[in-house]
């Protein structure tokens, strides 16, 4: 069996990654500001859509139906794309997808490609794979450009450089733009307009001279063979129209049955992701344009395995809007890097361990990277019940032995009410036996994993008498 790669190596468990991120005051400030801004924007444009609940249900139903009939729709998509003059390739995993794309680029004789922001190519680590064959991939989305120039990793699905503020971006541009093409202007300020202008000039040169483009797709219509990309900067439109060869790497779950289905998703996606009523640049293309070559690489990379899980497969409904990241209290405090995957936040916590398996410590820890507060489910435009999937995945995790012992002990006590009553009496007696001064005998800081509580919080005092003891003594307060 091939190992599924998700753009980053699975390393330390989530809590350890998080501990480092929590200490980064700049990161905390940036994330707090950015997530709260997008969250508020989304909330206001969703509130003004009177049929949001119906749209959400339609989105869920269309995705569910498509996933149940994926075999049929994928073949139909292949036929339609081929009929329109495109070439379709099937990739079982990241390595095969990278190999296909590398061969396609090599066949053009080019050594440079421009890229539209794409999660699928981040997922398979395409840029790194191309570089091994002497091909340089240039990111053209503003945030991806910031990440690439800063030799950084994306930390958000929609806003990969969300962990950076404009002062940091100014520094990255001033220092690294020259190494990748047109340098940043002298005396660059951190004024957003100046930064955007520097990026625009830098990228314009690249668009005009590059002959090969690589994209992903938000949707692929089986009925017509049409691919759809939503973006906000116009860089996607440049990449999709100017170069002679276009290669699109698309996850197999991106297929939609009919053109009509877009009606639902073109409303759900912009409001959920950027908090806009309508998406600024929506590019659609069917097969190859005249004088252009078009290749579609359909990517599995663990997805069919996820489909086999009745509870977990709803994660494949995801349209990568990021609403769950922006609303997640855990993501807001630790950022995306702690999740060790290009898919961070709540959706990452259920998608990554399913795609990659739960072999590593990190992947086993991801389903626990949530307080199960439910905010993600509430905002999900395709109604993925993320908390339920998290709980489902937790049943599949291998639990550490002290925890297993504690849970077994608790289960044993709760099995009989008499056992619970005896334990409560013992607790009360211990308390009565230790007069006020001696109460300190109970350690203020607990050992082992329980210390996580007492490091920052006091323990509640054990009462002298439990509720059930009171009930028995007083006949429910009647005596």
């Amino acid at each position: 069996m091939s190992v599924t790669f998700l753009g980053m190596p699975a390393t330390r468990p989530f809590p350890r990654n998080a501990a480092g991120a929590l200490r980064d005051s700049q990161l905390r400030f940036n994330l707090r500001k950015a997530t709260r801004t997008i969250r508020a924007k989304r909330a206001s444009v969703v509130a003004e859509a009177p049929d949001w609940a119906e749209l959400r249900e339609a989105g869920r139903a269309i995705k569910e139906h498509t996933l149940r009939n994926l075999d049929r729709y994928l073949v139909r998509l292949e036929e339609a794309v081929t009929a329109a003059g495109g070439h379709v390739h099937w990739a079982a995993d990241a390595a095969e997808a990278n190999r296909i794309v590398t061969e396609l680029v090599k066949a053009t004789g080019e050594t440079e490609v421009v890229k539209v922001k794409s999660m699928a190519t981040q997922e398979i680590g395409l840029n790194e794979a191309l570089l091994e064959h002497g091909i340089t991939a240039y990111e053209t989305d503003l945030a991806e450009l910031i990440v690439q120039l800063g030799d950084d990793r994306p930390s958000h699905i929609l806003v990969p450089a969300i962990h950076r503020n404009r002062a940091e971006i100014r520094e990255i541009f001033a220092e690294h733009m020259s190494g990748w093409g047109r340098p940043a202007p002298e005396n660059l300020t951190d004024d957003p307009a100046a930064l955007a202008d520097a990026a625009r000039l830098h990228l314009r040169e690249r668009f005009l001279k590059t002959k090969v483009a690589i994209s992903g797709a938000n949707f692929a219509i089986a009925e017509t063979g049409t691919l759809v990309v939503l973006e906000s900067e116009g860089n996607g439109r440049m990449c999709l129209t100017l170069p002679r060869t276009l290669i699109s790497v698309v996850g197999i779950e991106k297929v939609l049955p009919t053109w009509r289905d877009l009606e639902v998703f073109l409303q759900l996606l912009p409001r959920s992701s950027t908090g806009e009523r309508m998406n600024p640049y929506t590019s659609m293309w069917t097969g190859a344009a005249e004088g252009q070559e078009f290749h579609l690489v359909l990517l599995d990379n663990g997805r069919t395995g996820v489909l086999a899980d009745e509870v977990g497969r709803q994660a494949l409904r995801c349209i990568r809007c990021s609403a769950c990241l922006n609303v997640c209290p855990v993501y807001e405090r630790v950022g995306g890097h702690a999740y060790g995957s290009v898919y961070p936040g709540p959706i990452g916590a259920i998608l990554t361990p399913q795609l990659r398996g739960m072999g590593s410590e990190l992947d086993r820890s991801l389903p626990y990277a949530s307080s199960l507060c439910g905010a993600c489910y509430e905002v999900c435009p395709v109604a993925i019940d993320i908390p339920s999937v998290l709980v489902h995945l937790r049943t599949r995790a291998r639990h550490p032995w002290p925890e297993r012992a504690g849970m077994a002990a608790a289960g044993w006590v709760f099995e009989r009410s008499g056992r619970l009553a005896r334990l409560q009496r013992a607790g009360g007696r211990l308390r009565r036996l230790t007069p006020r001064g001696l109460h300190r005998l109970i350690p203020r800081r607990l050992p082992g994993p329980l210390g996580g509580w007492t490091d920052t919080r006091d323990l509640p005092e054990v009462p002298e008498e439990s509720f059930r003891a009171w009930w028995d003594r007083t006949d429910g307060g009647r005596r």
Binding site: R333, T395, S466, G477
Partner: protein, 245 residues
């Protein structure tokens, strides 16, 4: 109407004042609640930590202890959500457990639901002369959708000054074993919640869940903030004659 009190293991063991308050409050409103002695824990901790088999055993025990009543009152949004949302999934579609769950689940009410929806009361005759802020816990807010029932009840309490809590819908970071397994993130979330509570200038933070209050209160106590935490039931139980703790 035969009413059972499902007090929850946390209240039973650590916060008996809450259970006593529910009993007294209901008695004042003319309802004699029964306390089925076989009850222990709803199984939420096991279920949410990934110990499904143990959770099923505890859920089966709980519905066996609670069946046969016209209503089950739970002074915890979280445990009520466990019963209402997770029991049907754990019980499956057929068999004795499924039958018992089908009886108990629709009759299970969180305390404020029982007061407002079943008894039709919003003024419970309480007196609590303090500045109070209310934290809607995640499971009462997004799990069982308590809505403004708790606030409606609090607004009728004589002498009570209600202070709105900023960032009211945000999780406090408790999350059961999350507080231990991701202790640092949990503490970071709690620190923000504590800051919001202090900003209200309230003397008392109340909620429908003692577990979240134990977490927030644990940090408020460690900081010697002088803000105390109290279950909503204890505020609703307080009267001029009974006195205020």
């Amino acid at each position: 109407m035969r009413v059972a009190l499902f007090v929850t293991c946390v209240n039973d063991t650590l916060f008996p004042d809450t259970g006593r308050a529910v009993v007294r409050l209901l008695r004042r409103l003319g309802v004699e609640a029964d306390f089925p002695r076989a009850q222990t824990c709803c199984g939420q901790m096991h279920a949410n930590t990934g110990y499904r088999d143990e959770a099923v055993r505890l859920a089966r025990r709980s519905v066996a202890a609670l069946r046969g009543y016209d209503a089950v009152v739970v002074p915890s949004g979280s445990c009520a959500a466990m019963i209402r949302e997770q029991y049907p999934k754990l019980a499956g579609s057929s068999g004795p457990f499924a039958d018992a769950a089908a009886q108990v689940v629709p009759k299970t009410y969180e305390l404020t639901e029982f007061l407002v929806d079943v008894l039709g009361v919003t003024d419970v005759g309480a007196y609590f002369p303090h500045r109070v802020t209310y934290h809607p816990t995640c499971h009462s807010l997004r799990g069982i959708h308590l809505g403004d029932r708790p606030l409606t009840l609090l607004r009728q309490v004589k002498g009570l000054e209600l202070a709105p809590l900023p960032g009211v819908e945000e999780c406090c970071g408790f999350g059961g074993t999350f507080a231990l397994k991701n202790a640092d993130v949990s503490a970071a979330m709690c620190a923000d919640k504590v800051r919001a509570v202090l900003d209200t200038g309230a003397e008392v933070l109340c909620a429908a869940d003692n577990s979240c209050l134990m977490h927030i209160g644990g940090m408020l106590g460690r900081q010697k903030s002088g803000v105390r935490v109290m279950h909503l039931a204890e505020i609703l139980c307080a009267t001029e004659t009974a006195g205020v703790r």
